[in-house]
């Protein structure tokens, strides 16, 4: 059995690794797409 296999045969280590993996995906998605677009379209301000 390799070290890697022995690590992942541990239920809690696998749980923690998976949790961290999902968190990393979520964080990546938030960083990529999380920032909102609050820009407003340009308009002709007549200024009267």
């Amino acid at each position: 059995m390799t070290i890697k296999t022995s690590l992942f045969s541990n239920q809690w280590l696998r749980f923690a690794a998976l949790t961290f993996y999902y968190l990393a995906i979520a964080a990546g998605l938030i960083l990529l797409y999380g920032r909102g677009d609050f820009s407003t379209p340009p308009f002709i301000y007549q200024g009267f």
């Binding site: 749980f15 949790t19 909102g36 609050f38 301000y45 200024g47």
Partner: protein, 576 residues
């Protein structure tokens, strides 16, 4: 050794699935906790920096809500919502910007700072969404609303203006709020749906608006069905709002948390005089008191407008503007939320409007209508009507405030914050208002003299046209002097049941006709239109047709008044 049968999950298979699900659930929980702490952190930073942000003008202030909510939580910040007049600069001399409220109250001279929010062509419907989104922080709080005359003219602020100020976050918070009355939400939804371009990429918002606007039990069920999705969307947008706000704060390297509070009493009169002196130096290349740079940029267009407008057109566009509807909705929202609004509105540039073709009496309709709109909700108002002819009060055609105008605004803001607004006499502050004289000045004393002469002519004409002891209705604008016609009995039109002036114009011709006939039934035998009210005959066209078809004109003087004899129908008179 366990034997695995293909296609059949064993204990081991179910255990693996549970660990994936468990990890996913744990990741979600951790994320939720992180977001919760992130929001708390954001609140802390926003509260810490809000005083520094209050006088600043930046894009996200207009479309977000985090900064606004933080401002409303502070007792030493006075929120001021408006449009470009909040930020318009005194071009040519940047140091004149010190009269602007955001800078005037920089060092808390009287104990507060102004939290100013506004962008060009912000209308009442936009302000409604900005303030609804603030939420429960509005309750018991003062908020000052600034309006200029432009949006109250149909066609001046078009759909582009609304779209250019639209915020999906603020709209979503308004639409999916659950503490406003259904009738109010329906009315707001109907107005928002009149701008479909703003809803193009917002299917949830659009769907909810359509359900709200439609009314009825089915639409109500569908609205509540989509409400959780709307709330979730709002949650995401609010998180993004916090992110944007924190990013802005982080990018500012000159935000000072500590600003020395320098208490000082302000001599408003002297300040107004100084402001006018300062402004005159940059407003001397045109006869209207407009800022030199504005005049240089726009003079060709503004000069060409001579006589282009008329009272009838001005009044029609005033009547047709939906800004009145939106203002009413905004005040309803603020009332339901328990806020304490105050309205400020710079005067029209009277000199220029005369040049344009709009008379003082037509302009008075605007001031009156705005006053009535505010009074209907018990909202204090300062529309600075007495400064209509003060050419150094505003710096351009759009009524952006000059330094002197700002001093008046600032005094009103100061009084509002300290609860003294009712004691303020806005005509008296800054005695310099009456000392600004040049060959282009409209002297208020001269106007007063002309008006008194008109009153005298109207009374004489009415006495000449009517028999002794006749009851004469006068379209009076509340002026009691017009009713003194010797032994003739003068009545206001319109009036309340006890005979006092009603305080507002009829909503339409139908109301005017009904009221006239009611007074005629009570004994009124003549109706007098002073020439300052000739515009009624354009504005209330059906009313005019009723008068002309039913009654006889007994006096027509362009320099005083028009009088109808109500005693007998015109047809009966012709037959006799």
């Amino acid at each position: 050794m366990s034997t695995q049968v293909p296609g059949v999950e064993g204990v081991e298979g179910r255990s693996v699935k549970c660990s994936y699900l468990g990890s996913a659930a744990a990741a979600l929980l951790l994320m939720a906790i992180a977001l919760f702490w992130g929001v708390l952190f954001a609140h802390r930073v926003e509260n810490r920096y809000i005083h520094a942000l209050a006088p600043r003008h930046f894009a996200h202030k207009n479309v977000g809500i985090a900064v606004g909510r933080a401002a409303f939580r502070q007792s030493d910040l006075l929120p001021l919502y408006g449009a470009s007049e909040i930020w318009a600069s005194s071009q040519g001399k940047p140091e004149l910007n010190r009269y602007r409220a955001s800078l005037r109250f920089w060092s808390y001279p009287t104990g507060f700072r102004v939290f100013a929010v506004g962008k060009g062509a912000t209308t009442a419907l936009t302000m409604l969404q900005e303030l609804t989104a603030i939420g429960p922080e509005l309750r018991g709080k003062k908020v000052v609303l600034s309006f200029t005359w432009g949006p109250f003219q149909a066609g001046m602020a078009g759909p582009d203006a609304y779209g250019g100020n639209f915020s999906g976050l603020q709209a979503g918070e308004s639409v999916f709020s659950t503490d406003l009355s259904p009738g109010l939400k329906q009315a707001v939804a109907r107005r928002m749906l009149e701008y479909p371009l703003t809803l193009e990429h917002r299917p949830v918002l659009k769907f909810a608006l359509e359900r709200l606007a439609g009314g009825g039990p089915v639409n109500r069920v569908l609205y509540y069905a989509v409400l959780p999705l709307g709330k979730l969307q709002n949650l995401v947008l609010r998180l993004q709002d916090h992110w944007e706000t924190l990013a802005y704060i982080r990018a500012q390297h000159d935000l000072r948390l500590q600003v020395a509070h320098r208490a000082s009493s302000i001599d408003w009169r002297k300040l107004a005089m100084r402001a006018e002196e300062d402004y005159r130096e940059v407003a001397n290349n045109n006869p209207f008191g407009f800022a030199n740079e504005r005049w240089e940029k726009n003079s060709k267009e503004w000069i060409q407008r001579q006589g282009e407008n008329s009272d009838a057109v001005f009044l029609r566009t005033l009547r047709d503007s939906k800004e009145w509807v939106d203002l009413g909705l905004l005040l309803r929202v603020l009332k339901e939320r328990g806020a304490q609004p105050l309205i400020l509105c710079p005067p029209l540039p009277g000199e220029y409007f005369n040049y344009w073709g709009v008379s003082a009496s037509a302009r008075r309709v605007f001031y009156t209508r705005l006053r009535e709109a505010a009074e209907a909700f018990g909202v204090p108002l300062a529309n600075f009507e007495a400064h209509d002819g003060d050419k150094y009060f505003v710096l351009d055609f759009g009524s952006h405030l000059s330094p002197k105008g700002w001093v008046y605004y600032d005094q009103a803001l100061d009084a509002a914050y300290h609860g003294r607004f009712g004691e303020l006499d806005l005509d008296r502050v800054g005695a310099g208002a009456r000392s600004s004289r040049s060959q282009f000045d409209v002297s208020t004393d001269k106007q007063e003299l002309e008006y008194q002469q008109l009153v005298k002519r109207v009374r004489q004409a009415a006495q000449a046209a009517s028999p002794p002891k006749a009851t004469v209705i006068v379209v009076s604008d509340g002026e009691d002097e017009l009713l003194q016609m010797g032994d003739r009995k003068g009545w206001h039109f319109p009036q309340t049941d006890d005979g006092t002036y009603a305080g507002h114009k009829p909503a339409d011709s139908t109301e005017a006709i009904g009221h006239l006939e009611a007074l005629r039934a009570k004994g009124a035998s003549f109706i007098v239109f002073p020439n300052t009210t000739f515009w009624w005959l354009d504005y209330y066209a059906e009313f005019r047709r009723h008068l002309e078809s039913h009654y006889r004109v007994v006096a027509r003087h362009e320099d005083s008044c028009l009088i109808f004899d109500l005693r007998q129908p015109a047809i009966a008179q012709r037959e006799h």
